[in-house]
Symmetry: C2
Subunit: 121 residues, 2 copies
Amino acid sequence: MAADSLSRVFSALADPTRRDMVARLAAGDATVNELADPYDVTVQAVSKHLKVLEDAGLVSRSREAQRRPVHLEAEVFDLMTRWIERYRREAEERYRRLDDVLRSMPDDVEPTPPTESGAST
Amino acid sequence: MAADSLSRVFSALADPTRRDMVARLAAGDATVNELADPYDVTVQAVSKHLKVLEDAGLVSRSREAQRRPVHLEAEVFDLMTRWIERYRREAEERYRRLDDVLRSMPDDVEPTPPTESGAST
DNA sequence: GTTGTATTCAACCAGGTAGTTGAACGAGGG
DNA sequence: CCCTCGTTCAACTACCTGGTTGAATACAAC
């Protein structure tokens, strides 16, 4: 299941520093030291953040002499967008449907489809 | 601390159980007990998860007798989608631009050529 | 008023995470 | 070869998180 990688991506982006790194990397590749500069933390801490982003598939690192330029991988964003949009659409549709029902319902009972059983994975 | 709302939303959805809850809530409102049923954890744990989702603005709870039906709030998804799409677009555009540059540079010099180990293809 | 049901609060524990310092490693330049 | 720079590894600490159990609260039914 893609749940695991989805967890890694969401978790990676739950940190403001990492989100800021992603934002800056969207403007262009950078080295660990360059990335670390604006933050008030050690380079080692930034290196750890980078590892989290890398494990989530959000960035990749190449080797160029002793530097390791960090590159943003945009494809993983799709995974999130797909998940988000799916449930948003569902929720909004349901909302619209409910709205319809309420409007077309004088004071009768609620329609309960017989195909409704416990939700499963 | 993850005080900003974007951090809270990403953090909330980083947990597979909470994502599953959201998925199920997209199909319709549910009570805490209903939500807790399929999971192998106590109701209290689910209540905590719900609090996280609520703090993130992903769900809301009303009061209906002693039950507290949970309702999915779809708007917050927009916040994430906007963030994600912004940087994805930036990254993709940059990629396209780079591609252009490379194509318009047949055998010219590169901006930073410390080592030359073959032409770029 | 007492009982029962649904939910939350409080205290606690195990594991993970973000940060630190200090040392090691890898590649170029003197 | 030795030194320096960029980066990562290792060990440690403080805190946050997800889980537990047990008690408390809120409302409905009896």
